[in-house]
């Protein structure tokens, strides 16, 4: 798994490439936690992370990977930031549906929509 980090204005975008299974889940968690940390340190008190996870190139994700998304959602929302998912492939979409997490995550099929979604929230 490779993760590319980009910024668009105040929005952080992680382009994830490869399967998120086994030890990759922990690696992804560390990357997200670091972004949460950086936002906190750089911003005013209450600095919040606005995060887009681009899953276009993720073919498979296991329960640990899903757990990382859920944990990220909880932490980011607690800090009044936002997290949205972009470009879910069929497998990842069914995984999220199976786990009844479709109502938890806002999912978008284009980066422009995802950014608009974050700005609206």
């Amino acid at each position: 798994m490779q993760v590319n980090l980009r910024h668009k204005g105040s929005i952080t975008i992680l382009d994830i490439d490869g399967n998120v299974i086994g030890p990759d889940a922990l690696a992804l968690k560390n990357i997200i936690d670091q972004q949460i940390q950086v936002t906190h340190n750089e911003g005013e008190p209450g600095g919040k992370l606005n995060l887009i996870l681009n899953l276009e190139r993720v073919q498979m994700m296991d329960s640990s990977g899903l757990g990382v998304l859920v944990a990220a959602h909880t932490t980011i929302r607690r800090n009044e930031g936002s997290i949205v998912l972009l470009n879910l492939g069929g497998n990842i979409r069914s995984l999220i549906v199976m786990a009844k997490l479709m109502t938890i995550f806002n999912c978008y099929d284009s980066e422009a929509e995802a950014i608009a979604g974050i700005i609206r929230s």
Partner: protein, 232 residues
């Protein structure tokens, strides 16, 4: 310390030419874990395939039904491959193919499981969606055995046995842990558990496979997937 970093992976597979590819992907994946330079890794891959082809042709002539069992012993900078005559004896039907993999309990080996399953599934008639489901279920079961069963103790082994027949794939995962009671594991779909960051593994296995049964206090998990939905 030297012995601690040594990892022994045992592999048993039918000795036929079609399984050379499986051997190849396993060795390629294992060699990646060494810190050997890439050209050396490539040489190892070639040597293994060569040896595998020779050995297979030989056993095919002598005993076509023979299992081919060996150990891959991995340290930080060496890979030793030795035939393993200690392999478990088991009875199998003539039309079945049995592939067994025994791994030290390191989460790193989840990747190995992924490539092995992908390779094995090429030999049986599943749709792409179903292949993904099986792959996920095996990874979850492997993670369960390595992480929760064996607590990532590298001395303890996780053993995964795949039995392929025309209409189904049976996967049996065994760990050396204390076991667990399935009914005591919380339902991840329960609203109060929805936002928990763990606890979905067993649920996903059961959702992806046609049947999942827990034996020997949960230290043995048997999962079945049919090529066609069974008529109940």
């Amino acid at each position: 310390m030297g012995e601690r970093t040594e990892q022994v992976i045992t592999l048993s597979l039918p000795s036929s030419m079609q399984h050379i590819d499986l051997l190849k992907v396993i060795v390629t994946e294992i060699v990646k874990e060494t810190k050997l330079p890439e050209d050396i890794q490539e040489q190892i891959n070639l040597a293994v395939i060569e040896a595998g082809t020779k050995s297979t042709q030989h056993s095919n002539k002598e005993e076509p039904e023979k299992q081919w069992t060996f150990q891959l012993i991995l340290t930080e900078n060496t890979l030793t491959i030795v035939p393993d005559d200690e392999g478990e004896e088991f009875a199998r039907e003539e039309t079945e193919q049995v592939i067994t993999l025994s791994l030290p309990s390191s989460m790193q080996h989840v990747y190995l499981l992924d490539v092995v399953v992908t390779e094995i599934l090429k030999e049986i008639d599943f749709t792409e969606d179903i292949q993904e489901q099986i792959n996920l279920a095996v990874i979850e079961a492997g993670t369960n055995a390595i992480k929760h069963g064996n607590k990532e103790n590298p001395v303890k082994k996780a053993t995964i046995q795949f039995t392929l027949s025309e209409d189904r794939l049976v996967t049996i995962i065994k760990d050396e842990g204390d076991g667990f009671a399935r009914q005591e594991v919380a339902d991840p779909l329960d609203p109060e558990n929805l936002l928990k960051s763990s606890g979905r593994g067993l649920f996903l296995m059961e959702a992806c496979m046609d049947s999942v049964t827990y034996e020997d206090n949960g230290t043995i998990i048997k999962m079945v997937k049919y090529t066609r939905t069974p008529e109940l």
